[in-house]
């Protein structure tokens, strides 16, 4: 979706302001929010792309003003209700008013160390890769209303395939809960001028990780 989350190349947000000796969490609830999201993710109720799409669908003014973990907390409330795991009246009450559903699994403290590394998103290929390193490609001019990982600044632009990264879960499909739909993934490299015009920073190169459905031969 062409949402506020797709920020590459936008102006007006000002300088980056790094915090010296930043703590891991700025408040106790931030850590609880992260952990709640991880623990609920472990139950297998959603894909990582469903959670990203959950954030992208927040109202744009809220997206820009809420802190990172506040967005996560609101997203969690939203997904829990959407997936039928709790009802809005229960979240409002702060207590379960009806029994829970049976989920695939539940995270115990003893298993936490095994969940700190990421799973694999590689999947068996359904067809041979359509491109190889060195191929010139043009990204598609697409504007789906649902989740996509092709950023606006890199649509309808010509670049070069630099590497094949394997065949991966396709976010555009997985975000809708419609399965893995594996697609080939490539690193595609663009010249700064192709993205930003003749005044682009001299020597700049930018790459995106692009799924095959985003690409046409150039």
């Amino acid at each position: 979706m062409d949402g506020i989350h797709d920020m590459g190349g936008m102006h007006g947000f000002g300088k980056v302001d790094p915090e010296k000796d930043e703590p891991v969490f700025h408040a106790e609830w931030e850590g609880r929010t992260l952990a709640l999201n991880r623990a609920m993710g472990y139950t297998g109720i959603w894909t990582i792309d469903q959670t990203r799409y959950g954030i992208e669908r927040l109202p744009p003014d809220l997206y820009l003003t809420a802190s990172y973990y506040k967005k996560w907390a609101i997203r969690l409330e939203k997904l829990i209700v959407e997936l039928g795991l709790a009802d809005a009246d229960e979240i409002k009450a702060g207590h379960a008013l009806r029994p829970g559903k049976t989920l695939k699994r539940k995270l115990n403290a003893a298993d936490v160390p095994n969940t700190l590394s990421r799973g694999s998103f590689a999947r068996p290929a359904q067809a041979p890769a359509g491109f190889k390193p060195g191929d010139r490609v043009r990204t598609k001019n697409i504007h789906p209303e649902t989740h996509t990982r092709l950023p606006r600044y890199a649509r309808d632009r010509v670049g070069t395939v630099e590497a094949i990264r394997g065949c991966h879960v396709f976010p555009d499909t997985a975000a809708l809960g419609k399965g893995d739909d594996p697609q080939w993934l490539y690193t595609v490299l663009f010249d700064g001028r192709e993205l930003w015009g003749q005044n682009a920073e001299s020597g700049l190169k930018v790459s995106i990780e692009a799924f095959e459905p985003y690409l046409d031969p150039a």
Binding site: W29, A109, S117, S207
Partner: protein, 208 residues
């Protein structure tokens, strides 16, 4: 900040509102039987104490001292980092990208906040912020200026937008004047930001 479990009396602040809101959510999910609060404690403890940029710094220091490891790292970072034994396993798709005198690499996620958690821990607030995500791909030299970093003339910039499940860690150049240093001492030069590409390693003088 308010880490105290027993005080929710900051009426009207976002902090107290969020503290109550998240606690309510946790209660509902625990009562439904979906989550175990003890598991949440363990997750928080891991990210506060175990997973962090010290892991990435060990990887970089090893690459600086051991050419065979560096080769393996650049070929398949997930595999090489596991072999190092810092952690049980590393998720697939970790990619190490090497800085050279002619090329400086920087990583960003313009669409959300993708970041190599396993080797760098949780991302800092600025990495997830609109200023960084908007400008990194179009004005990386300006971003470096925000970090008080100036690259030598003749060094081009390559920005990696993390738009899929591949994750990147920058392998910075080993500072001059560190010949014969132990891996441990070398690791003390490696900052989180130099593995994102918004900084350079510390100079040997800073840690001497």
């Amino acid at each position: 900040m308010a880490h105290d479990h027993d005080h929710d009396h900051h009426h009207g602040s976002e902090l107290s509102e969020m503290q109550l809101r998240v606690r309510a959510l946790e209660t509902v999910l625990a009562e439904k039987g979906y989550i175990d609060p003890a598991a949440l404690d363990a997750i928080i403890e891991a990210y506060e104490t175990k997973v962090g940029p010290h892991n990435g710094a060990r990887v970089v220091a090893k690459a600086w001292s051991d050419p065979a490891f560096k080769k393996a790292l650049v070929e398949d970072a997930s595999k090489a980092v596991v072999a190092l034994g810092l952690m049980n396993r590393v998720g697939d798709h970790l990619i190490a990208i090497e800085n050279t005198p002619k090329l400086h690499n920087m990583i960003v996620c313009t669409l959300c906040s993708c970041y190599p958690w396993e080797v760098l821990g949780l991302p800092p607030v600025w990495y997830k912020s609109a200023p960084y995500r908007s400008r990194a791909v179009s004005d990386p030299r300006g971003i470096l200026a925000d970090f008080d970093v100036t690259l030598p003339a003749g060094t081009d910039i390559r920005v990696w937008d993390s738009t899929a499940e591949t994750r990147f860690i920058v392998l910075p150049m080993r500072p001059a004047g560190t010949e014969g240093w132990s891996e441990e001492k070398l690791a003390s030069l490696v900052t989180r930001d130099c593995m994102i590409g918004t900084g350079l390693p510390k100079s040997p003088k800073e840690v001497a």
